[in-house]
Amino acid sequence: MDIKNKLNEIEKNSGVKFRDLAERGSRELCLGVTAEDFLKACLCLHKELDSPVRIFFAEDDTVSRGVYRLYCGFEAAKYGQWVFACLDVPKEKPVFPSLAREIFSASLFEREIYEMFGLEPVGSPDARRLRLHDEVWPAGAYPLRKDFVAGAGRGKASGRYAFKKIEGEGVFEVAVGPVHAGIIGPGHFRFSAAGEPVINLELRLGFTHRGVEKLFEGKTPAEGTRLAERVSGDSVFAHSLAFCDAVEKTAQVELPEKALYERVIFLELERMHNHVIDIGTIALDVGYSFPHAYAQVMKEYLLALNEELTGSRYLKGVCVPGGVSVDLTAQAAARLSGSVDAVMKDFAELKKMLYTNSSFMDRVETTGVLGRKIALDLGVTGPAARASGIDRDLRKDFPGVYAAAGFRAAKETAGDALARLNIRVAEFEESARLVKYFSALLKDGGPRSAGPVEPGEGSALGFCEGWRGPVLYRVRIGARGVIERCKIVDPSFNNWQGLAFAVPGNIIPDFPLCNKSFNLSYSGGDL
């Protein structure tokens, strides 16, 4: 059955009417629905397509049509499609029916839409602001509205954030952050505990909010690529790739083979240097420092390898709209392949250090369990989801050139810190194999770019499976070829919630281990 038939079937069974908005990039469908049908339509898509809310955002179309348009996006993995339920919200009555009570994965997105656009999710269980902290930002200033002026943010701050209160005999709170003890991003964690085990963990994030989505507006695709590279510093390539993918889809350009292969190579190299240091740091956070030192050296070599190949340790400036800026020659590819072999020898040592040490294994096994059902409800993605038995990976669901390489997605079921470690180990090895596979396909000469990209007016979803999970960019290009709206979803956004549900039941001293086994990006989530 293809997606069209499936959607017809959903319409027939539910009585919801979909209006095809004919507003589509490749592999995406936008379906208009009425306010009365919105909740029901989203619920049907959520259940029938077997997808949490992957992306949910608003666009300001008040100038030309007098409405804000909401896009609630689902991933129809089985059909290799993205499906958006779209709702027009009139400027005069900025409210929409909340989905969060029925589909929890919509919850954070709704809070975001509320604070950024002033569109109220009616019936929402939690309407607190997420990033515009009440202590520093006034009420009624909505930065992503087109008529927002910078001065609007200078008004009197609106108040204080209301944390959840856990009450009972012997319950105490431990507040940590925003400034932490290590060299790490800022966030506030509030533990409620009675005795040793944590009863509740509440996260308050947004400390690295920089207004990234607003900054994209009015930029050219080339400028946008530079900005995308600076959204999350450890996922430079994944973010630039997803952004370029979106721009290329609006322009409907076909990429030459060499560009596609090189992009896979760099995406996998980024995965390798991040996974290896995570593996080491998981050991460090239970006090086992030797494997960490070992992994640090491996990371340094991988960064040096990046620099040798591209001139940048973190692959900045490598992905450009239309292709890649670096020409990997067959000779460079052969060296790359040899380097990966050398790294894999060390990786075997690192694995032995961890898996043969029973006191280490004892700490990671059954620690920080995230159950499959909760992970699904929260919309957890990436390695964290795969560790909890959720069989999703964009490299598998939208394979592209990965198909020919016989890509195998990692999968675990236990959902504990060990499962997340195992996933990283398996993915590191698979990435090494993919890098070698695609390096062997590189030939000298031939185009590595489709030439200058003329972005077309319209919008498209760009995506890739970064090392932390799916990175999504929904980009709308305006009449002058500049960006009108850019919605970014970093996997950290929903996965932070996963951490909050994995920690309760564990002791506070195991928090660093649980945290590291997810290793989420503050800046990616806060934008």
Binding site: P186, H209, G211, V212, E300, Y314, S339, A342
Partner: protein, 173 residues
């Protein structure tokens, strides 16, 4: 245990550094040796830094951590990163200063004993970088605290961080 002994025998890793031309640590070695002498003299062997991220993308943090890896091993020259501002001689700040971090940044600085200096690292902390025009950033650290040294880069490499610290301590004699 056998792995540990093995590693000592073989050297830390088996990776043949000839594979990795870009990794030239001699500059770091030379700068570091000199840095160590200065720190011994001026800071009684230890120069302690508290790091605060005010909205960086994490790239600067990654390179600061890299400077402490076994290859560069910044600590052996007498520089270390401490968990509390109470133990710090210097505050190392990254990021363009998100409005949400202004108070925490000020409080961290106030919690440090004097004499103290503020060092900014990365283009964002210098002048806001690409985020200077945002509705939610203060456009760099100097709008909040007095800054003594800026280490530019996006992000600066470990060697550059070590060299910049050396230059700074030399000039502040």
């Amino acid at each position: 245990m056998s792995i540990f002994i093995n590693s000592l025998k073989k050297g830390l890793v088996t990776v043949d550094s000839a594979c990795f031309k870009a990794l030239d640590t001699s500059a770091a070695e030379n700068a570091g040796k000199e840095l160590e002498k200065l720190i011994r003299k001026q800071f009684a062997r230890s120069f302690h830094i508290r790091e605060v991220d005010t909205g960086s993308c994490g790239g600067c943090e990654s390179e600061i951590i890299s400077a402490t890896n076994p290859i560069y091993d910044l600590q052996r020259f007498g520089v270390d990163f401490v968990a509390s501002p109470r133990h710090a001689d210097a505050l190392l700040v990254t990021g363009p200063v998100s409005k949400n971090m202004e108070l925490a940044l000020k409080k961290t600085f106030e919690a440090m004993p004097g004499p103290k200096v503020v060092i900014t690292l990365g283009d964002c902390a210098g002048n806001g970088g690409l985020f200077a025009d945002s509705y939610y950033t203060l456009g760099g650290v100097k709008s909040v605290l007095p800054v003594t040294l800026h280490i530019p880069g996006c992000p600066p490499k470990p060697v550059e961080i070590i060299a910049a610290l050396l230059r700074f301590l030399k000039n502040s004699k």
